[in-house]
Amino acid sequence: MSGHASISEKLDWTKARVIAAGVDIGAVTSKALILLDGEPYASSQVVTRTPKESAVDAVNEVLKKTGGLKLENIHSVVATGRGSAQAAFAQRTVSEIACAAAGAVRIWGPSVRTVLDAGGQSCRVIHCTEKGRATSFLWNDKCAAGIGRSMEAFGDLVKKDLTEMASIALESDKFPKLSDFCAVYAQSEALDLARSKVPLEELIAGYHYAMARRISTLVDRAGVKKDLVIIGGLAKNTGIMNWVESILKVSRLAPKSEWDPALTTALGAALYADGFCKRQHD
């Protein structure tokens, strides 16, 4: 199991009235997040193996950090994400569209109206209300271009990790135009250019720009209502997201330093778990 977890030392789970958890079983990583009386307490991220294993891994990873909290102490668990049906320990499932909207509004506040969720296996644009209720969404078409997996594949090709690639992409002003229609075409074009001695930095920048164009098309089709936030694993890739902002001529709300944007949907799931639990008590 490869992953990490973090915890807020200020909170004590033994004193919590309501302990709720959200588990987001994504295609690339699985995330778990625990709320104590509605306040974020602990979170984890693990690399997804099978959805069933990863759901358990993510929860185990976060529980390990808590000093004694066990799954049976958690009052309500909501699973979301591609593998949500495999989380046998969750009482409910809620779609990642609803969870992403709820999580984003919780993190950035009630001004959020558009959430771009750039994940490992899909890219989605969600519109929501000030209360975090999703009102519409648009899903990417069946293509790897503009999603996390295609960035990983490109990273393997050029032997760079995602963070390094993003920094390189930001530094290069000059780059070739690559296909934004298909991730495979784009990679193949990049390889051809590499054989023509085009510097690697320019290829990396070109690939990031192509993926940004692809994502921007989706956002443009859905329409941007202000404020815009970007969540999901790819949100951390400033090499792509700065271009998305530039192409769309819109600024996103600044990332919150205390929040990993990849955890937003798990937070939303935990908020749903918290809400279900409170409604049950009421």
């Binding site: 591609r82 809620v94 779609s95 990642e96 609803a98 709820a102 969404f137 069946k142 749903y272 918290d274």
Partner: protein, 388 residues
């Protein structure tokens, strides 16, 4: 356990959709002439009038890597899969393959059959007007349908009389009315049948001998009318879009984590197939056929009013929304189809204005169940207005 009543008839329809080559082979063994058609613009009545059973070439939802050598990769999977049926020899027992010049993807599937699947000498490409909302389109169709009649007469070595055509028109109109009645049962508060079941019967009707199909539909409706029905639970969804013969998509709608019911499907494998009639009792039968087919709910590939760019199909979709009262709309189309998703760009704002949430599902050879499920459940959550 053996099913009884309406369930047994629905089960038989389902069997036919799942085993179409076998079913049609059984017709052949009974001495029937069979013609496969690839587009619903083909006037089946002309074939039927000549004693031929028209059956639509549908897909098997299998991977068809073998077709990529014949059809470009970026043609829709429906066209690939239809071509695959020919290359695999699943319909070697057909006497004819016919299509109309409707969509280029299906045109290529037809070409594969004609060039590479042994149908060179038993194929017919019927001309169809590119845009149907023009004055010359009617005359064009009369001429084209007339040529098709002559071709079929030569093929069968028998004259198709006006009487034959009138009988065929009546059989087909009867079929259309029965299918319409079946779908209209879903307007009820307590329908005795589900949307996926009606979709199954509708799909089966496209590959069946119409007389046999009509008898089954009559029995089915008679039995259903005697059944109490069951209140629809959850949200009501309609589907609008392109060809979809994967009944699993419709079943999925009714097997989500939330209660949802499929109440209508506007596509060329459902309502667009039968939601029209050919005028009966006309002196000029071919002109009557042309008139009927031109009044069909238009295929997006043919549906642009010159000058205004209006899409007449949208009026039908709006009417279906009014009549079937859906809470949500599912836009369903084949990946790489151009006309369908282009229509969505213009149709979605109309649906939005009506305050109806929607989602888009993109079909491929196989149905990505997990993703479709997520999208449909998210749509239902939006309809229900769930919040934490």
């Amino acid at each position: 356990m053996e099913k009884k009543g309406s369930d047994a008839i629905i089960e038989h329809f389902r069997y036919i959709t799942a085993n179409t080559p076998e079913y049609t082979r059984s017709l052949k063994e009974k001495g029937r002439l069979l013609a496969g058609y690839m587009c619903t613009h083909v006037p089946e009545e002309i074939l039927y009038a000549a004693g031929i059973v028209p059956l639509r070439i549908l897909t098997s939802h299998e991977s068809q890597a073998m077709t990529r050598g014949y059809i470009h990769e970026t043609y829709c999977s429906f066209s690939h899969d239809c071509a695959y049926q020919g290359l695999q020899g699943n319909y070697d027992h057909l006497d004819l393959i016919v299509t109309s010049s409707s969509c280029i993807h299906m045109g290529e599937a037809f070409n594969v059959w004609a060039r590479f699947a042994g149908f060179q000498e038993k194929s017919y490409l019927m001309q169809y007007p590119h845009i149907i909302h023009t004055k010359p389109a009617g005359g064009f169709m009369v001429e084209s349908f007339g040529q098709f009649r002559e071709f079929v007469e030569k093929l069968t070595k028998r004259r198709i009389t006006d009487d034959d055509l009138e009988k065929a028109i009546k059989v087909y109109n009867h079929n259309r009315r029965l299918l319409k009645r079946l779908w209209e049962l879903l307007k009820r508060d307590k329908p005795p049948i589900t949307g996926p079941e009606v979709a199954t019967a509708t799909l089966a009707s496209q590959v069946m001998d119409k007389q046999e199909c009509n008898e089954m539909l009559e029995q089915l409706i008679e039995r259903l009318e005697a059944e109490p029905g069951k209140a629809l639970s959850g949200v009501r969804l309609i589907v609008t879009g392109g060809a979809c013969d994967d009944l699993g998509v419709f079943d999925l709608i009714e097997h989500l984590n939330y209660d949802a019911s499929l109440v209508f499907v506007e596509s060329c494998t459902a309502a667009r197939y039968f939601w029209f009639e050919v005028p009966e009792g006309r002196e000029d039968k071919i002109k009557a056929l042309a008139e009927g087919y031109i009044e069909k709910i238009p295929c997006p590939a043919k549906d642009t009013v010159p000058g205004t760019g209006e899409k007449k199909r949208f009026r039908y979709v709006q009417q279906f929304i009014e009549d079937f009262k859906p809470d949500g709309v599912v836009f369903l189309y084949q990946r790489f189809c151009s006309p369908q998703p282009m229509d969505v760009v213009a149709l979605k704002p109309i649906v939005d204005k009506l305050g109806i949430p929607s989602t888009e599902l993109e079909l491929d050879t196989t149905v990505p169940i997990a993703q479709f499920r997520m999208q449909l459940e998210a749509l239902v959550e939006i309809i229900k207005g769930v919040t934490p």
